[in-house]
Symmetry: C2
Subunit: 214 residues, 2 copies
């Protein structure tokens, strides 16, 4: 199983690293980080950059592609080289997946028309505008397209993917291996559950254009 | 608030990136990756390496230190330069923290004698042997030392830390920002909950010496 995780400048590191840690534990699989121009790829966080050796051309037909999101996604929406790679890879992939605003890139590539999909909670309107049936769930599967909600949801998505690919026991073993027994100190991880002040604070600073009321 | 995350070759990326994504969102704070010799630091996963610009000497007195774990921890247990840095930083830190087998490095530095602490589930005996009162909880706070269980628990720890540093609303806003509303497809993230076959599979391949029965 060849798994490619696509990186671009100003991606959100956890979007990519969560799935990577899970999928790297799949038996008989190889996870490769790929990027348009191999070299240093900067994350959203200053001081955090990765070295990516493989170009998009090096892995033209992965079995699984994972597209993370992050503020850098916006600059890629018109990058036809990247979008072409996503479209072409999707033709032969077993699974085409995204985390957070990575789903907007799947949408820009034209893969989500009429498909149920999710994204970062503040990006759901933009996801709709790209033709998807925006679905407020943490992990959404429509055919061979699997999309995850924001940032940390990539871990849940990757475990779901691991189970589909290799069975429940393998996925459960991976979950134990990364000791994923989440116990957040608060129950504030979604728009519905977080304090209104947290929701409004993030919404007011969002890079996404949002309706005044929802 | 100066926050230093200490990296070494063959660290587990998620141990470090989980806390980094949370702590980078703290107001008035700077997160710096530090390592013994600045340059490329390899993670546990082949093909995943980070560029680290700061040496240990560049950040001698962080307010918060975060020590991740991973297979590379074993090679650091006798690295007096690293252990001295941890000991010295701990003298003036507000919080001294670890994720996964990073707690074994706190133990090797002599910080855990008689302290309640946790670690990766397969490393709890080794944690005890370093003088700690090994505690099977996800996040353990004893004085200013905060230790987390395996890999993904660093996210829970960092949110706990964020609340202690900046208050509940800030931590809740960070939790929403990374959309941390965990919904794993299985409930197999701890030794007690995972299928016996998963537990035995990982135990039999563990790098830690374990008693024949527990």
């Amino acid at each position: 199983m060849d798994i490619a995780i696509v990186l671009f400048d100003y991606f959100t590191a956890l979007d990519a690293i969560g799935p990577l840690e899970v999928l790297a534990l799949l038996p008989d699989s190889t996870v490769t980080l790929v990027t348009e121009t191999p070299g240093v790829v900067r994350s959203e966080r200053s001081g955090l950059s990765l070295n990516v050796a493989a170009s998009l051309d090096d892995v033209p037909a992965p079995d699984v592609l994972v597209v993370p999101g992050g503020p850098g996604q916006a600059a890629q929406m018109g990058n036809e080289r990247l979008l072409d790679w996503i479209r072409t890879a999707h033709l032969t992939s077993t699974w085409t997946t995204s985390v957070c605003t990575g789903s907007l890139l799947l949408g820009a590539a034209g893969l989500l028309t009429g498909k149920r999909a999710t994204s970062y909670w503040l990006a759901m309107d933009e996801l709709s505008s790209l033709g998807a049936e925006a679905t407020f769930e943490r992990v959404v599967v429509d055919g061979k397209i699997m999309t995850a909600a924001g940032v940390s949801s990539g871990i849940d998505m990757a475990l779901t993917l691991a189970a589909r690919i290799a069975g429940d026991l393998v996925a459960q073993t991976i979950q134990l291996n990364i000791e994923y027994d989440p116990q957040p100190p608060f129950d504030a991880g979604s728009e519905a559950k977080a304090p209104a002040e947290a929701v409004e604070g993030l919404r007011s600073r969002s890079r996404f254009k949002l309706p005044a009321t929802r």
